[in-house]
């Protein structure tokens, strides 16, 4: 198996890792770096469970090749509470019961974080537009929207 080194920043930490040439960013994060908060739900970009923020934009990490990310900056769920306490978004998810099984939650939070980074007080429809690529089978989405709206309200 051909492996190649890659250098990148994940949650403001520098990494130099050897990865198989055909590895995805998701595989790099989970298997090589050991950050398993990011989940795989479909492997085909249809569910958003693997959402991370790559160079400021939310992406399905299952559809990014690891070697594309040379020099890139990646943010994952593990970076969301980097200051040692839960972020506003994480607190709002708990407050509003915005998860059940929790498997989609890391991806949901990263998509929501990317949205709030560019649009601090999104409307109901803007939230749906930005979050459409993240599937949840448990909650019916209502509570997730409430959590994101609440953070938007706080930031305002």
């Amino acid at each position: 198996m051909n492996t190649r080194p890659i250098h990148l920043t994940v949650n403001n930490q520098g990494y130099e890792v050897l990865v198989p040439e055909d590895a995805t960013l998701l595989e790099l994060l989970r298997e090589e770096i050991g950050l398993t908060g990011t989940k795989e739900g479909c492997g085909a970009g249809e569910c958003g469970a693997c959402t991370v923020i790559l160079n400021g934009k939310p992406v399905n990490s299952c559809l990014v090749m690891a070697l594309e990310c040379e020099g890139a900056s990646v943010r994952t769920i593990e970076g969301e509470n980097a200051d040692g306490e839960l972020s506003d978004l994480q607190k709002a998810f708990i407050e509003h019961n915005a998860f059940q099984c929790g498997f989609c939650t890391p991806g949901m939070i990263m998509s929501a974080r990317a949205l709030l980074d560019t649009n601090p007080d999104p409307t109901h429809d803007e939230i749906k537009e930005a979050m459409e690529g993240n599937l949840c089978r448990c909650t019916g989405y209502e509570a997730i929207i409430a959590a994101i709206e609440a953070v938007g309200g706080i930031q305002k």
């Binding site: 198996m1 198989p20 989970r30 950050l35 398993t36 908060g37 990011t38 989940k39 795989e40 739900g41 479909c42 492997g43 085909a44 249809e46 569910c47 469970a49 994952t76 769920i77 593990e78 969301e80 509470n81 839960l86 994480q90 998810f93 708990i94 407050e95 019961n97 998860f99 059940q100 099984c101 929790g102 498997f103 989609c104 939650t105 890391p106 939070i109 939230i127 749906k128 537009e129 979050m131 459409e132 690529g133 993240n134 599937l135 949840c136 089978r137 448990c138 909650t139 019916g140 989405y141 209502e142 509570a143 997730i144 929207i145």
Partner: protein, 813 residues
């Protein structure tokens, strides 16, 4: 929840029951720290891959795995010659791995464990399987017909729960459940109107976001450790032990966080297969992570259904007789599926009193993916049929459908189809129906201006309401147990083996213990991951039974701990037990409240000043069993089928774009008689989630196959579940709280119920909007548009698909 119920929810008597307690597992889940089976890496772990059948039905002529075995890095390969053990919960009809035949496309014929997943994938490609394709039976009506080719010629030899299930060897019918009451001939003779309809529904997927991830280590001396994404740790242990004839004590099942189940992770799944790979690899742990495509094509789905209902009514709307015949499309195996037919039969006529009833439910093998438990356990399918039939009959009668329902409803003093007496505490579907109808102003007609706008735009609005019911479906002996142990600091920890895969069970159990022990909720912890060696027994996490049965076990354990605590405290306080009481984290003398001893001083033993110690660690134990259930009479189905019935109702307003066939759910109302709201936020979460899952089943979800029986909806590109953009405009919820006498604090289960009847209420509203009477699902825009085109051209054919193949039994005669 609407404001109407706020007063009833704010029950002043309780400190934690019905109070807004946050989920126990929030921190882990929002930080990504929650560890799911797929996140586990063990030393020496191998990675597995499955090879599956491309044929829906075939004889396996040969399997050559020699090239796979020779590939460097491959540590074990198994095929049918290694796995002839049959494993199944109710009907042992499924081999761990296909042996001589494959019965559905996607069935596992070989599996590999290798050092890396890439090597395992390469090895799978090197395995050559030679098949002799056989004709595939894809239609449940054809499969049920006399003389159909047999999918399981050995059906008569399969072990199953005797006296509970009734296979018919020599046919494709894995189980035939019968319910009989009254006299059908006399009943129908009384009727002024007799209406007969058929209804059909395809299979649907559960779609847990986490697939059935499984890790097994089968070491020497049959020391077996399992980590899996499952709902039923003890069932996995039990069925594994039975299948391979191994002592229960040698098997340990661990359930970490679980990424969704919806019934699909009940029972046993990939554990035996992965176990065989591990054993063949010398006991190294093996991990199998099914891809989404494998989850769809190889792991079970919800069964399909074909139903025929014949209803007799008097002119005044009294239902006098009803015959229901259901063919359950089990797919290739019915190990779990047989119980869906049995259990849902008890609800097949809905919450109505009908004096003359004949119900036949047959679970039928076909050459499709096999079905299993799915949220609602047959009830969503039965209620699509029966609640459609109610609206169709009301139309025949010229009666308001709500009035028609209320006229025939099961009120206290009447009996269910299995002969169970409905009491004042059974629950009130009538109240739920009225509430749901009120929430959407069901009976407020549209104004002329609104109607004109509808005609102009071609977007027609309409409303409908219907009812639902379900009781836990489980063996008569299904039980839970619990431990509540006191920590050194006077806090407590709960151990159970029910699994909280998101529904909120553990939070409710914490509330019960905190309430019972008068402890701050922060001092009540619960074990997050279940382990069958360490955790007390529970049957399965299914059937909306956790709050009720596991809740009763936990309450019992808390009471036991309280009794022990008081016993030691009485000695320490030099008082009699009847003279002392629980404070918040301490025990005090009622007459002299300043005389007290903290839980922390009692938890592991009370120590006197001179060093003498008494008591020892305080461990409360509790248990509960489904009290009073009986097997149903094989001929008549009479017996005690349910410990608690949760009734409810939905109402909907939708808009149908007659130009495109698109349905927009404008508002959706739900009311459940939950007995007692334990946690309003969790209840709303379950309800909203269930409703949207039901909307998916109504509008877009169906498993489809090509003519050869190969699945064509095996991924999220082709199988669409609702997204953020597919939410209803508004969801309104209410509750009725008729206390369940033996439920904890009067509570009933509510996890599955929101999904039941969603399809029916949407199809009824669609009919009200357009006149398009659908007898099958899903109500996709393509199909709605086609039906509307037929209506426009006057070519509507009311006969549902498959009816021409349907052979009625003697039941209706």
């Amino acid at each position: 929840m609407t404001t109407a119920t706020t007063a009833t929810l704010a029950n002043k008597e309780h400190r934690y029951i019905g109070k807004p307690v946050k989920r126990h597992d929030g921190f882990e889940k929002v930080t990504g720290q929650a560890q799911y089976a797929g996140d586990i890496k063990l030393s020496g772990m191998l990675y597995a891959k499955m090879k599956t059948s491309p044929h829906a039905h075939a004889r396996i002529l040969s399997i050559d795995a020699s090239r796979a075995r020779a590939l460097p890095g491959v540590r074990s390969v198994i095929t049918g010659e290694h796995g002839t053990a049959k494993v199944g919960i109710y009907m042992q009809d499924k081999s761990v791995i296909a042996t001589d035949y494959v019965r559905y496309a996607g069935e596992v014929v070989a599996a590999v464990a290798a050092d890396t997943l890439r090597i395992a994938e390469q090895a799978i490609e090197l395995i050559e399987v030679e098949y002799e394709p056989l004709p595939a039976l894809l239609d449940v009506c054809e499969a049920a017909a006399e003389g159909a080719p047999l999918i399981h010629p050995d059906l008569g030899s399969y072990a199953h729960s005797e006296g509970v299930f009734f296979p018919e060897p020599g046919t494709n019918i894995a189980n035939h459940t019968r319910i009989r009451r009254g006299n059908m001939e006399a009943g129908f003779a009384e009727a002024d109107i007799i209406l007969e309809n058929t209804f059909s529904q395809k299979q649907v997927f559960h779609v847990p976001l986490e697939t059935h991830v499984t890790i097994v280590q089968w070491a020497l001396d049959d020391q077996i450790k399992i980590w899996c994404s499952g709902q039923s740790p003890f069932s996995v242990r039990d069925l594994f032990a039975i299948g391979f004839e191994i002592d229960r004590n040698k098997i340990e099942v661990n359930i970490p966080f679980v990424g969704g189940g919806f019934g699909g992770k009940a029972g046993i799944h990939l554990e035996p297969l992965v176990g065989l790979l591990s054993r063949a690899a010398g006991g190294r742990p093996v991990k199998l992570v099914p891809t989404r495509e494998e989850e769809c094509a190889t792991l079970p789905c919800r069964q399909g259904q074909f139903a025929r209902i014949k209803t007799g009514c008097k002119k005044d709307g009294t239902i006098v007789a009803e015959a229901v015949e259901i063919l359950w499309d089990a797919g290739a195996y019915a190990d779990y599926g047989v119980n869906i037919g049995r259990a849902s039969s008890t609800s097949a006529c809905g919450p109505y009193y009908i004096p003359n009833v004949c119900i036949d439910a047959k679970t039928v093998y076909t050459n499709k993916l096999f079905g299993t438990a799915y949220r609602g356990f047959g009830h969503p399918e039965c209620f699509f049929a029966i609640e459609r039939q109610r609206d169709l009959m009301a139309r025949e009668l010229g009666m308001d459908p709500t009035d028609f329902r209320l006229k025939n409803m099961l009120y206290p003093g009447l009996t269910t189809v299995t002969g169970e007496l409905v009491t004042e505490n059974t629950g009130r579907p009538d109240k739920c129906l009225k509430s749901a109808a009120r929430m959407i102003d069901l009976h407020t007609p549209y104004t002329e201006a609104e109607k004109a706008e509808m005609r102009l735009s071609g977007k027609y609005r309409a409303k409908a309401a219907c009812v639902l019911q379900k009781a836990p479906a489980m063996p008569t002996w299904s039980a839970s147990s619990a431990l509540v142990q006191m920590n050194e600091d006077g806090s407590v920890r709960i151990s159970v083996s029910g699994v909280d895969y998101g529904q909120g069970t553990y939070t409710v159990l914490q509330q019960i213990v905190a309430e019972r022990l008068n402890l701050p909720i922060e001092k009540v912890n619960i074990n997050r991951s279940v382990n069958t060696t360490l955790s007390p027994y529970d049957w399965q996490t299914v059937a909306s039974r956790m709050t009720v049965i596991c809740g009763m076990a936990v309450a019992d354990a808390a009471d036991d701990l309280k009794r022990q605590t008081l016993e030691i405290a009485a000695i320490a306080l030099r008082a009699s037990v009847h003279e002392i009481a629980l404070g918040e984290g301490y025990v005090y003398v009622m007459q002299n409240p300043h005389l007290r001893v903290g839980f922390d001083k009692l938890a592991i033993g009370y120590v006197y000043e001179n060093g003498n110690a008494i008591g020892g660690p305080l461990i409360g134990r509790g248990r509960a069993i489904a009290q009073g259930l009986s097997n149903l009479d094989p001929e008549t189905g009479q017996g005690k089928a349910a410990i608690d019935w949760t009734y409810g109702a939905h109402a909907v307003e939708l808009e149908v774009d007659t130009n495109t066939g698109d349905i927009e759910v404008l508002q959706f109302a739900n009311c459940l008689d939950v007995g007692q709201v334990m946690n309003e936020q969790l209840l709303r979460g379950q309800t909203v989630g269930g409703i949207l899952q039901g909307i998916g089943c109504a509008l877009s979800e169906a498993v489809n196959y090509n003519d050869q029986g190969k699945m064509i909806t095996n991924n999220f590109t082709d199988y669409k579940i609702p997204t953020f953009k597919d939410m209803p405009g508004e969801i309104k919820l209410d509750v009725v709280q008729t206390p369940q006498l033996d439920g904890p604090y009067g509570a009933r289960g509510a996890g599955e119920h929101p999904l039941i009847s969603v399809t029916a209420v949407i199809a009824n509203a669609l009919a009200n909007a357009t006149g398009a009477q659908f007898h099958d699902l899903p109500l996709s825009a393509t199909r709605v548009h086609a039906k509307l085109e037929e209506l426009r051209e006057g070519q509507v054919n009311e006969i549902a698909e498959g009816m021409e193949n349907f052979e009625p039994t003697a039941c209706t005669a």
